[in-house]
């Protein structure tokens, strides 16, 4: 359904993506793993045109084109079919929870207000935030904000939802509530790509795992195979580090460099 080929992207002289081939099929839940700086987020941002790629092709359904030559109107049409959940939620601060969800329906898609309200209720119910519909984002916890952000992007029923480290800004408790929400969507057959550091989520919810390192895809395998029988040495090294880090007892400082 969505595919990029030979995708290159750089910030100035710093090459971040060095020829990525990436494909999502209908109904797939893909976890993208890799250490910080491996290019996971940039991949999602290039696919959504939040970052302009240097070269590559993009295919979305029947639409296929050189990614550097996609016109502004085509970008907007593509974005209408892509949901995006940001690390920092990015809820519109001047709008209530309900207005945040309605905005994409009423303003962007010119949907009838009544119809849109019914959808907003349904989506907010789905993420367990209907009781906060009239609150403003700053009155909510991070986990609640992220659940609203998820409701906002599923409201217009996109063909695929891209999650950019949806729980990285949250503490473990809130992480769990957000991951449960995402897992619930996955079980309903929503197609999604989740950039994450949550191994148990990747293992239990994703059906395919992509491991990235230094701007290339190192391993692309079904989730079970990825964790139980990784082919690449780099993947094994990465999984070992992650397991060691998880094993560090509270109060101890991990030897490996912690992120941020």
């Amino acid at each position: 359904m969505l595919e990029v080929k030979n995708l290159h992207c750089s910030y100035g002289t710093n090459k971040v993506l060095k020829g990525i081939d990436f494909r999502v099929d209908q109904g797939e839940v893909i976890a993208v793993l890799g250490s910080s700086g491996s290019g996971k987020t940039t991949l999602l941002r290039c696919i959504s045109f939040l970052e302009s790629a240097d070269s590559g092709t993009i295919r979305f359904g029947d639409f296929e084109k050189d990614i550097t030559k996609v016109k502004r109107s085509e970008i907007r049409a593509l974005r209408m079919k892509i949901g995006y959940v940001f690390q920092n939620f990015n809820l519109f601060r001047n709008m209530t929870v309900r207005q945040n969800v309605l905005e994409g329906l009423v303003t962007a898609r010119k949907m009838d207000k009544k119809e849109a309200n019914a959808i907003a209720d349904e989506m907010l119910g789905k993420v367990g935030m209907l009781h906060r519909a009239d609150y403003y984002p700053e009155q909510l916890s991070g986990g609640q904000q992220q659940r609203v952000a998820i409701a906002r992007s599923i409201a217009f029923r996109p063909d695929v939802i891209l999650f950019d480290e949806p729980t990285s800004a949250l503490d473990p408790e809130l992480t769990r509530e957000v991951l449960n929400t995402i897992a619930k969507l996955a079980s309903e057959g929503v197609t999604m790509v989740v950039v994450t550091h949550e191994m148990s989520f990747a293992r239990n919810v994703a059906n395919r795992v992509i491991f990235m390192e230094n701007g290339v895809v190192v391993e692309d395998a079904p989730a079970k195979e990825f964790f139980e029988n990784p082919k690449e040495e780099a993947t094994r090294r990465f999984l070992r580090t992650v397991i060691e880090e998880a094993a560090v007892k509270p109060g101890q400082t991990p030897e490996t460099e912690s992120s941020k």
Partner: protein
């Protein structure tokens, strides 16, 4: 306080208030309205990065912030007639003040627009909004909240600065106070009185500001 001074204060107050309502307030409102519109245009030119125009705006801001307001007024009222452009006092004051205040206020507005996090714009794009919708529905409302206290501060500053128009013969409240003071030789009493009127005017404005700021919050009441 002697009864004579008290009598002067009481008898001059209605005249001061009359000119406050008749000239000072209309002058202030006129200037503020014009400079607000102009400032918004100047700020948007910069934010939208319109080529050519942007350099012009930077030049404009540099020129009008870098020279004294009173000198700008003198150039327009006393200077332009020698080029064949003669304007009466009130419009001269309005033009000079508006050009000057627009330069300052455009910077306030520009900074407030730039203070809106980029993520807000990106989120707007990703739910399918176009740039115009993002600006009008997300960025500008958030920027307005940031800019509001500073822009309101400009209004308070302007009510006081409007007294400078007296120097180019606009008969506003301060000019009237000057006239009364020179007629009865009580400058101390008269200038204190006119200061008090300005103070009361701005007390009302400050109260209005707090009220409006409370209304602009993004919180539900419970």
């Amino acid at each position: 306080m002697s009864t004579r001074i008290l009598e002067i204060l009481i008898s001059s107050l209605p005249k001061l208030l009359l000119y406050c309502v008749k000239v000072t307030i209309p002058l202030t409102v006129c200037i503020y309205a014009i400079s607000l519109v102009l400032a918004l245009i100047l700020a948007l030119v910069q934010v939208l990065n319109i080529r050519g125009l942007k350099q012009f705006v930077r030049f404009y801001v540099w020129l009008f912030r870098g020279t004294p307001l009173i000198v700008q007024m003198y150039i327009i009222f006393f200077g332009l007639p020698s080029l064949g452009i003669t304007l009466s006092a009130f419009p001269s004051a309005v033009i000079a003040f508006s050009l000057n205040y627009a330069a300052y206020m455009s910077e306030t507005i520009r900074a407030s627009i730039e203070s809106v996090p980029k993520g807000q714009v990106e989120a707007g794009y990703m739910i399918g909004l176009n740039y115009f919708q993002i600006m009008t529905r997300i960025v500008l409302p958030q920027a307005a909240k940031v800019a509001f206290p500073t822009l309101f501060g400009s209004l308070i500053g302007l009510t006081k600065d409007s007294s400078l128009a007296a120097s180019i013969t606009v008969v506003e409240m301060f000019k009237v106070a000057q006239q009364i003071a020179s007629a009865n030789f009580e400058p101390f009493a008269l200038y204190c009185e006119v200061a008090f009127v300005y103070l009361m005017l701005n007390t009302i404005l400050s109260a209005l500001q707090s009220y409006l700021e409370k209304k602009m919050t993004w919180k539900t009441k419970n």
